[in-house]
Amino acid sequence: MTRAGARNLLLHGAVLVLLFALNFVLPEYHRGILSRVMVLAVFAMGYNLAFGYTGLLSLGHAMFFAAGLYGAGLTIYHLGWSVWPAFGAGLLAGGVVAAAIGFLALRTTGVAFMIVTLMFAQVFYLGTLYFTTYTRGEEGLILPQASRKLELPGAELILTDPAVRYMTALTLFAAVLVGIFLLVRSSFGRALVAIRENEERMRMLGYDVFANKLLAMIVSGVICAAAGAAYAVLFGYVGSGFAAIQYSILPLLWVLLGGAATTLGPLIGTLFMFYVIDIASGLTRAHLLVVGIALILVVLYFPKGIAGTIRERWLRWLQ
C-alpha cells in the first residue's frame, strides 16, 4: 500500500475508534444525536456514491431511503417479522427500486435526470400516502418496542437501549464506510470517477457506461435503503415524511457541505448540519436563518465542502 493509502487507512480507523469511544463519554442527549447522525451519514454516503463519485445528481434519493424504511417497517408492523429478515426486506426493496428507477432514469442526463428522479420520488411519496391503510401516511407507524430486538447467536440486543442503539448505528456506519473506502479504491470506483469526468471518453475506452452507472445506482440505493431500514428499527418510527422531497435534498446538502467524492465528507456534513440546527434553535426561533447563513459561509469559504477543501488546500492524500 502507498503512503497515502496508509495515511487514509489510519485516519479512517481513528475516526471509527473515536466514534466508538464517544459512546462512553458523551452525555445522553448528544449520544442520541450521534446515533441518528451515523445512520443518516450512511444515507449520505450512499448518495455520495451516486452524486459525488459518479456525477449523478439525483433529486430522488428519498425513495431509496424510504424503500428501506418501509421494507423493514411494514414487514415488522404488519407481518410480525423479526429485525434481521425485515432489514433484508428493506435492502431488497431499495435494490429493486434503484434498479428499476436507474434503468429508466439513466436514459437521461443532466437536468432531465434531476427532474426524472424527482418525479419518481414524488410518485413514491404519493404512493406512501395513497396506501395509507398500510402506511398510515404522514402520521406513520410506531413499531412496537417488543419487535425491536436484534437476535445474535447467543445474545439478544434490545435496540431501544441507547448504548445498544449507538453501537448498532456505529456498526452499520463502520461497515458502509469500510465498503465505500474499498469500493472507491477499486477499479470499479475509479471507472465511476472517470465516467463522471468524461463519459464519452470512457465509452470509447470500451466501458459500458450505462451498465456502470446502473450498478452505481443500485449500490447507492441499497446503501440508502440500509440507512432507512436501520432508522426504522433503531428509532421505531416509519412515516411518509421520510419519502418527501426534503429527504432527497438533505443528503445532497450533507454531501455538498462535507465534501462530495470524499469518504468522510458525508459524516462531516451530516454532523455539521445537525449541530448547526441544534445550536441555532437554542439561540433563536429564527434558527433556519442561522442555518442559511452557515450554509452560505461554508459555500463561500469551503466551496468543495469541508473535507473536499481540506483535501484541496492541505491534505492532498485525503481520500
Binding site: 469526468e197 471518453r201 470500451g206
Partner: protein, 243 residues
C-alpha cells in the same frame, strides 16, 4: 487465406443528417498492418466515416466488418473491446485526474486479447505513457499539460487499449513543427504493431506516413492509391490539392 481478409471493411456505409448524406455508400477495405490516411476537403465526411466505423454514431445503412465479423450492430464500447481504438479530434482527456489515471482505465479493463498481456494494469499504463514520451509526467494533473502533450496523452490512451486498429482523427492539429516530427516517428512505431487509420490535413504528415491514401469528397470515395498515385491523380488535384 486469412491474410487476404481485410482487418476492417465497410459495404455501402451511409449516414444522412436530415437531407445531407454525410457519408454516401462507402465501400472501404483496410488490410492488416497498413497505415492508411483518409484525406479530403472539409465536410467530405472523413470524421463521420470513422465515427460510423467505431460506432459513435449510428449508420443509416450499410455494414461494417472487423476481422471478418459484422460489427454493424455492436455498440461503441463493444467495438472498442473488439480492438478498435479511437482518439478524438477535439482533445478528450480527464483533466482533473493525473496523467497516469487517464491511461489507467484503458489499461485495466480486461479483454480477451489482454489476458495474455504482461504486467499489472499500472505497468501497462506506464508503458503506454513511455511509448509516447510522457512517462515523466505520469503524476501531474492532466489538465495542466501543454496542448501538444494532451494530444500525446490521447494517443497513449488509445495505445493502452492494445488495439488491432488505431483511428487517429486529425492528431497533429495544433501541434508545432517539432512536435509533428516526433509524432510522425511515433505513429511509424505504432504502425509496427497495429493497423492505423489516420485522418489528416497536413499533407507532409500524410505523405511521410501512409502506405496508402483514401481520398473522400462529399461523402464518397473519390480515389485510393499509394502516395505517388494520389499525388498524380488529376481528380484529386482538382478536388483537394487545389491545382
Amino acid at each position: 487465406m486469412a491474410a487476404m481478409m481485410p482487418l476492417l471493411s465497410t459495404k455501402g456505409l451511409s449516414c444522412a443528417f436530415g437531407g445531407l448524406r454525410a457519408v454516401d455508400g462507402v465501400d472501404f477495405a483496410l488490410p492488416c498492418g497498413e497505415i492508411r490516411a483518409i484525406i479530403g476537403p472539409n465536410g467530405a465526411g472523413k470524421t463521420t466515416f470513422v465515427n460510423l466505423v467505431c460506432g459513435r454514431i449510428p449508420a443509416s445503412s450499410g455494414k461494417v466488418f472487423f476481422e471478418g465479423r459484422d460489427i454493424s450492430r455492436l455498440p461503441a464500447h463493444q467495438r472498442v473491446r473488439a480492438g478498435i481504438a479511437y482518439t478524438f479530434q477535439i482533445t478528450s482527456i480527464f483533466p482533473g485526474l493525473t496523467v497516469l489515471d487517464n491511461v489507467a482505465p484503458a489499461a485495466q479493463r480486461p479483454s480477451a486479447r489482454q489476458v495474455a498481456a504482461s504486467g499489472s494494469s499500472r505497468e501497462r499504463a506506464l508503458h503506454a505513457l513511455e511509448e509516447v514520451g510522457l512517462g515523466q509526467y505520469a503524476h501531474q494533473q492532466a489538465g495542466h499539460l501543454s496542448y501538444g502533450h494532451q494530444r500525446l496523452l490521447e494517443v497513449a490512451m488509445g495505445l493502452a487499449l492494445r488495439p488491432r486498429l488505431l483511428i487517429l482523427d486529425e492528431p497533429t492539429q495544433g501541434l508545432s513543427d517539432g512536435e509533428i516530427e516526433n509524432f510522425i516517428a511515433l505513429v511509424r512505431e505504432i504502425g509496427r504493431k497495429a493497423t492505423v487509420l489516420l485522418i489528416e490535413h497536413n499533407m507532409d504528415v500524410v505523405m511521410a506516413l501512409s502506405d496508402r491514401i483514401t481520398v473522400m469528397e462529399r461523402g464518397r470515395v473519390l480515389a485510393e492509391g499509394n502516395p505517388e498515385e494520389i499525388r498524380a491523380d488529376q481528380a484529386v488535384q482538382r478536388a483537394y490539392l487545389g491545382a
